[in-house]
Amino acid sequence: MLREDEFRRAYRERVETETDQLLDEPTSEMVMLREPVARKSRRGYGIGIAAVLIAATGLLVGVPRLSTPTIDPAAPNPDTSASWPAAITAPGPFMFESIVGGELRDAGGCLALGDDLLVLSDEWSWDDTTGTLTYQPSGREFRLGDHVGGAGGGGGHLVDIQTVWDLQVPSACAAWEGNVALLSYPG
């Protein structure tokens, strides 16, 4: 028979060691993720996103959440309105959930969140006749200039996102060279 105090000590030591290992992992990934690499592996890409997020926010452990590979990218009427930008959507939840936020703005014809091109989960709708972005489950609405924050996939380079998700980007922002922010729901 093992004594309770012996078990407590050993159990704690084991858990602390495993915790250290887990908390160390994202740090080692973070360095390589800063490099602009095109990842073919979904899991690898998820880890990449996770590490970028950790670098930016220090929030989570570095766990990729794999989304379904059957992406249905819909660009609701990307070219039907001359006055409003287009929105890009993809089914959520995204691979990795963290906190994203920024000003909702028009980036050369597509919706952007701060400096990043915005990719929305399919729970969002964009009315390009009124310029209203709506989170359908709650009915919460946003307009250009509003701050939009919430949980999402964090981000990544558009080229990589397209490679992994086969995302169809409206022509208005097909040449986007920057990052994207993946937004699941408002926070």
Partner: protein, 175 residues
């Protein structure tokens, strides 16, 4: 008194909160899940729930305790539908060595722990990692104190752990 904050302030608060408690959350998740991958998922799910419920968390008397409860209940809800059948007592008894030295007994206990029910692992983690008493564990799990006590008793028995006062240390015979 409840207060609300802007989304910018909330994001900053959440970032500070998770930065401050990240290790404790990961540690508890590791203790409960006994699997690194599952622990990562649990921390992630808990973090997402935290973001969604931030106003409640920040206005709670003990925000970390609130988030810990979110984690435990998230795990239990998930485990109810996904966990593989746990080892039964007879199986465990066959795996547990009878007379091994302390190191082997510890390894055996930690190995057997992985096969216990999610509720038993959670009780063990809350008791031996977070040092919570039966009443606090019962409140977190939403069960009675007696259920906690029985769960812990059975788990310790399966792990071949002897409760109670420490046995006297062996002393060298003075020659």
């Amino acid at each position: 008194m409840e207060t609300s904050v802007t989304s910018d302030e909330a994001s900053a608060e959440i970032a500070r909160f998770i930065a401050a408690h990240r290790r404790a959350l990961v540690r508890l998740a590791v203790g409960i899940c006994r699997d690194a991958s599952d622990a990562e998922d649990l921390v992630q799910d808990t973090s997402v729930a935290l973001v969604r419920n931030w106003q409640k968390v920040r206005n709670a008397d003990f925000p970390f305790a609130y988030v810990r409860q979110i984690m435990v209940r998230t795990y239990m809800n998930h485990a109810r539908t996904t966990e593989a059948p746990v080892l039964n007592a007879s199986t465990v008894a066959q795996r547990a060595p009878d007379a091994l030295d302390e190191l082997e007994a510890i390894d055996a206990a930690l190995s057997i722990l992985q096969g216990l029910s999610p509720q038993a692992r959670t009780v063990i983690a809350l008791r031996y990692l977070d040092d919570l008493d039966d009443a606090a564990i019962a409140q977190i799990l939403g069960i009675s104190r007696s259920t906690v006590r029985v769960t812990a008793h059975r788990a310790l028995k399966q792990l071949s752990i002897m409760r109670g006062p420490l046995r006297p240390r062996r002393t060298r015979r003075q020659d």
